[in-house]
């Protein structure tokens, strides 16, 4: 379908500082388009911070400074003249840890993004909403009740609604910050199935603290670690998931994966 896959990231020497404290430093990695990249590591290792660099959501936290080079399909995303955060975020969607649907109907939740970016025609919106809900594997459960309030859905359904909402702007990349950690095992499984389906058409970068999950769903895995409190966190290694989990290149990765810390 897509001859020239888009949705790649190239990070070079990226560091993030909160105020005067550098949280993450010296991260360089390539994110392969239309694959799943898992960011793993113990809490406080900067996985979510690094994830937020990719759609510039760190900008919204105030007093956060990102340095280094981040290229999205070759475009420097730190340069507003090349790529405005509004355009970047249309192309790089995010799903949060806790389901956070808007307090409005299922339909309006999914239509919010397209409307934001200028889609007005009812027929067009209807089609986009249907397609997004289908891709998020929620359509069959809600197709007869699109006017229903989003808060009436179960937690797992709400999270799939949030995935549909992010997909509705047709992003090339989907960032997921522990999207299943607040859900029960069955809902969690449904999210994983959805991810497996989605990676055929979008690049997925997922933060997870669940190593089985990372091993199950990802193609590539990046291991991050903050070795001491007076040094910033960094990337230890990134590679093919099967290799990372069977034959990691770094001793620290091995210790983490075999459960010796974290």
């Amino acid at each position: 379908m897509v001859t020239n896959p888009t949705g790649s990231f190239d990070l070079e020497n990226v560091s993030v500082a909160y105020g005067s404290e550098t949280a993450v430093a010296g991260v360089s990695m390539h994110i392969v388009p239309q694959s799943v990249t898992a960011l793993i590591g113990p809490s406080g290792c900067g996985k979510s911070t690094l994830l937020r660099c990719l759609n510039r959501m760190n900008d919204e936290l105030g007093n956060v400074k990102v340095e280094g080079s981040i290229r999205f399909d070759g475009l420097d995303i730190m340069d507003n003249r090349l790529l405005d955060p509004v355009d970047l975020r249309r192309r790089v969607g995010q799903v949060f840890q806790k389901p956070n649907p808007f307090p409005m109907s299922i339909y309006d939740n999914v239509a919010y993004g397209p409307k934001t970016h200028g889609t007005r025609a009812k027929a067009e919106l209807d089609a986009v909403v249907e397609q997004a809900l289908k891709r998020a594997a929620l359509w069959n459960e809600v197709k007869d009740q699109l006017k229903k309030h989003a808060f009436e859905l179960s937690g797992g359904q709400q999270q799939r609604l949030c995935i549909a909402r992010a997909l509705a702007t047709m992003p090339e990349v989907l960032l997921m910050d522990e999207p299943a950690s607040a859900l029960d095992p069955i809902s969690s499984q449904q999210i994983e199935d959805t991810i497996a389906e989605l990676k055929k058409s979008v690049t997925i970068v997922i933060v997870t603290h669940n190593m089985q999950q990372a091993a199950r769903i990802s193609d590539r895995t990046a291991f991050m670690l903050r070795e001491s409190m007076d040094r910033p966190a960094g990337l230890i290694e990134i590679g093919d998931t099967r290799v990372m989990f069977t034959n990691p290149g770094d001793k620290r990765t091995e210790s983490y994966i075999t459960g010796r810390f974290g």
């Binding site: 509004v86 249309r90 949060f96 808007f102 919010y112 993004g113 992010a166 702007t169």
Partner: protein, 284 residues
Amino acid sequence: MSRSSRARKAEALAKTLLGMAALLALSAALGFIGYIFYRGAGYVDWAFLTQAPRKFMTEGGIYPVIVGTVYLTVWTALFALPVGIMAGIYLSEYAPRTVTTRIMRLAIANMAGVPSIVYGLFGVALFVIQMGFNRSIVAGALTLACMTLPVIITSTEEALRQIPTDLRHASLALGATKLRTIRKVILPVAGPGIITGSILGLSRAAGETAPILFTAVAFFAPIASGPLDETMALPYHLYIMATQSTKPAPNMVWGTAFVLVAGISMLNVVVAIWRSAQRRKIRW
């Protein structure tokens, strides 16, 4: 006595004491409203509400006085609501967390504590004399607006703070601007709380005497034909009837107090009902 039975006794004692305090507060409020009702309600009839005062306020009704308070309150709302709500939105959603904005917040909090008579003096100096509005509805409303602004700003900020950050981030992450996020996601949820808090602030202003004492009111004035006229107003009317009148007319006084309290209570009840209806609609 065992430890647990002592703890149980302390618990029972605390419950009784706290309950009594609540009861005392409740009976003070009910007693206050009940007494005004008892003294004033009997005197309030259609004629009292629709006629002008006669014979130096000892007879007739308070129609122009009611109209005066409505005018003052509406003009106060026109001045204070847009500025107050927009300032609250700025402080909550846009202002960087710097020393300057912290000083701004502190100043606003302090403004809420300034005695109303001081606002009255300030109003005379700035609006009546300096800006040349003379004694008028505009001058009085501007003074009341200054007094009400901190309440509106604070309740706006408070209502916005109730909205989880996650919701803002969800919208921003979809590529929405801050303005769109506020208009489409934040305000529909926070709006009823903002309006409720603001109306409560305005209802407080409607009952104030000191700020309008030198800026807007007259002992006797016909219904204002425009915002630059002086006016009568319920709280001031009450004040002069209770202190300045040569022939005391207690029925007039209590009747006026009843109308003022009933009017403000009705406004608050209507707003409370509206708010809970909005909550149900948004299901927040």
